[in-house]
């Protein structure tokens, strides 16, 4: 398998990372080298093998639906790039 330049640019767009034409070329070379390594997996017959997501096969714990945390909005928003009146500011999405 080999990724085309267009595929690299499409993946970068999906990941919301801007890449220039020249960065895309370098990235294409690196990614194809890495996928060559990854392709070794394809030779293995894994039919009937249960996929393993976690080392211990535990199920998700559920907690009671109650308020357990104090309101620390001011402290959490102090690290945001831009806020106003308790809201996060981003560029206008709808005209």
């Amino acid at each position: 398998m080999s990724l085309t330049l267009e595929q690299v640019q499409r993946i970068a767009h999906l990941a919301r990372i801007e890449v220039s034409e020249s960065e895309a070329l370098t990235t294409q070379g690196h990614l194809n080298g890495i996928f060559e390594l990854i392709e070794q997996m394809q030779a293995v017959d894994t039919r009937g093998v249960e996929p393993m997501a976690h080392a211990q096969d535990v199920s998700q714990r559920l907690r009671d639906d109650i308020v357990s945390e104090a309101d620390r909005r001011a402290a959490f928003q102090a690290v945001a790039p831009e806020t106003e009146a308790g809201l996060y500011l981003v560029p206008k999405v709808i005209e």
Binding site: I34, M41, V49, P51, A55, V79, E82, V90
Partner: protein, 485 residues
């Protein structure tokens, strides 16, 4: 005092031979003097550290101290610590001052009374094996400043090796505690997945990430793990198990211990002199009464390929939170919301992090998920099953931690695949979720070699015992780099 074990420091503090303020000042002064040369710490806050030391001294005076109260420690900069800048080695978080504590920090500081000396340098978002991907510049190996300390916990390893701290925390997703421990002559332990809480530990690959101690000896690691481990309801994968004393079995004799040697760890791919040091360590274990058993991990050659699907897939999801909205870097100029995301992430992440996000995005994308992600998870099962089978005939598995000693800065930086292969012996252990250690076992050309120990699930106390008995019989772990008096 700078070479004292944690037990000796604990005794000195309890006997009032030294105060925590004095001890912390000793290490802060060393950091000020020596850190510019090796770049092991990225954030130091003398006042904050001394305040914590004063509080520890008060606990000691009041008789409410624990065994490690007042002992200074360096924290990997992946752990959120309230009021401390927490960068994860990235421009993305270069100005992030955490509003809360990771559970590991809370347990070590508030409960155990350890005193944080500062935050250690690391590969960006823990993605790297040489500490060269850090936004804050590479860390230099105290054994040879032209060489890397390993990664991703390279700053922690270099800090302890240069005695800028008596011990440090690390995290290990594919070898990031064990490989730098090996390259800097330290003892490092990655616990069973789920033993140490991941809450507040900035996520890389959530099904693999696990925190653990890095120190001069197995005994030090046991005492530290006692403060780090434990169930945490804030981490959904934390395991609810009874508290253990990980130092309880340190002195148990090794007679009858069955050491499994996987033939896959002793084939080609490893430097011959590194292999000779590992074999000599195994011979020492035979003298201590252990028996050697041949075992096999037939799918271990698939661990690097499977890891480079699973870890980037999880990373691409975890790192989607860095969008320039709620915290972290925002590009100065953009012309729409989408453009702000694209530019903030392009400028805030380094090259290796971007590569892994792109791999992860691709393997999770429509039409490729089954061929890559599911296939990797199936192979993960095969790798874990190999260990289960091997542990039917042995108690502990041994082999090299790293296929080579510390390599030169820049040597592998241009070729991601070569860099990835420096973790060929450690990654399978993360995929299986098992506990693993690296223990100093010799030198090649003046550079340290690490012996890797892999235990069965929850066998941390046994691994620490196996490492400790070896360290009673050998002095490799006590060797110091030139100039570290």
């Amino acid at each position: 005092m700078i070479h004292a074990s944690l037990k000796q420091l604990s005794q000195a503090l309890a006997a009032k031979q030294i105060s925590s303020v004095e001890l912390s000042t000793l290490f802060l002064d060393r950091i000020e003097r020596l850190n510019p040369q090796i770049n092991a710490l990225v954030t130091v806050d003398r006042e904050r550290t001394l305040n914590a030391a004063r509080a520890a001294d008060a606990r000691i005076a009041a008789g409410t101290a624990g065994p490690l109260t007042g002992i200074p420690i360096a924290q990997k900069d992946i752990f959120c610590a309230e009021g401390w800048r927490t960068t994860c080695g990235s421009k993305m978080l270069a100005n992030f001052v955490s509003p809360y504590d990771a559970t590991v920090i809370r347990k070590m500081e508030a409960e155990a009374g350890l005193v944080s000396l500062g935050k250690t340098n690391m590969d960006e978002f823990a993605m790297g094996s040489s500490n060269e991907t850090s936004f804050f510049g590479p860390v230099r190996n105290p054994w040879d400043n032209a060489r890397v300390p390993g990664g991703s916990s390279g700053g922690s390893a270099a800090a302890v090796a240069a005695r800028l701290a008596p011990a440090a925390t690390g995290t290990d997703t594919g070898g990031s505690i064990r490989q730098p421990a090996a390259l800097c002559n330290l003892t490092g332990l990655k616990p069973t997945y789920g033993v140490v809480s991941r809450y507040g530990m900035i996520a890389f690959a959530s099904s693999l990430d696990q925190a653990g101690p890095m120190a001069a000896s197995a005994e030090d690691c046991a005492l530290l793990l006692n403060t780090m481990a434990g169930f945490d309801e804030r981490d959904s994968t934390s395991l609810d198990r009874p508290q253990e004393d990980y130092a309880r079995d340190l002195d148990k004799p090794l007679a009858g211990l069955r050491i499994g040697l996987p033939k896959e760890f002793f084939g080609e791919g490893c430097d011959a002199e590194v292999m000779a040091a590992v074999r000599a360590a195994i011979a020492e274990y035979e003298k201590l009464g252990a028996q050697i058993v041949d075992v096999s991990l037939p799918n271990s050659h698939l661990s690097v390929p499977a890891y480079y699907v699973i870890a980037p897939a999880e990373a691409s999801s975890n790192l989607s939170r860095f969008d320039g909205v709620r915290y972290g870097y925002r590009a100065p100029e953009y012309d729409s919301l989408d453009d702000m995301y694209m530019k903030s992430r392009a400028q805030g992440f380094g090259a290796e992090v971007k590569r892994r996000i792109l791999i992860g995005t691709y393997v999770l994308s429509h039409g490729y998920y089954d061929a890559y992600y599911l296939q990797a998870q199936r192979i993960r099962r095969l790798i874990a099953n190999d260990f289960v089978e091997a542990f039917k005939s042995c108690d502990v598995i041994m082999g090299p931690t790293s296929p080579s000693t510390a390599f030169k800065l820049g040597e592998k930086a241009a070729d991601p695949v070569q860099m990835y292969l420096s973790d060929i012996y450690t990654i399978a252990v993360n995929l299986a979720g098992l506990p693993g250690m690296s223990v100093p076992c010799g030198f090649v050309g003046g550079l340290p070699v690490g012996l890797q120990l892999v235990g069965n699930y929850f066998a941390e106390a046994q691994l620490l015992n196996v490492a400790h008995r070896y360290q009673q019989a050998t002095d490799w772990h006590q060797r110091r780099p030139a100039g570290i008096e």
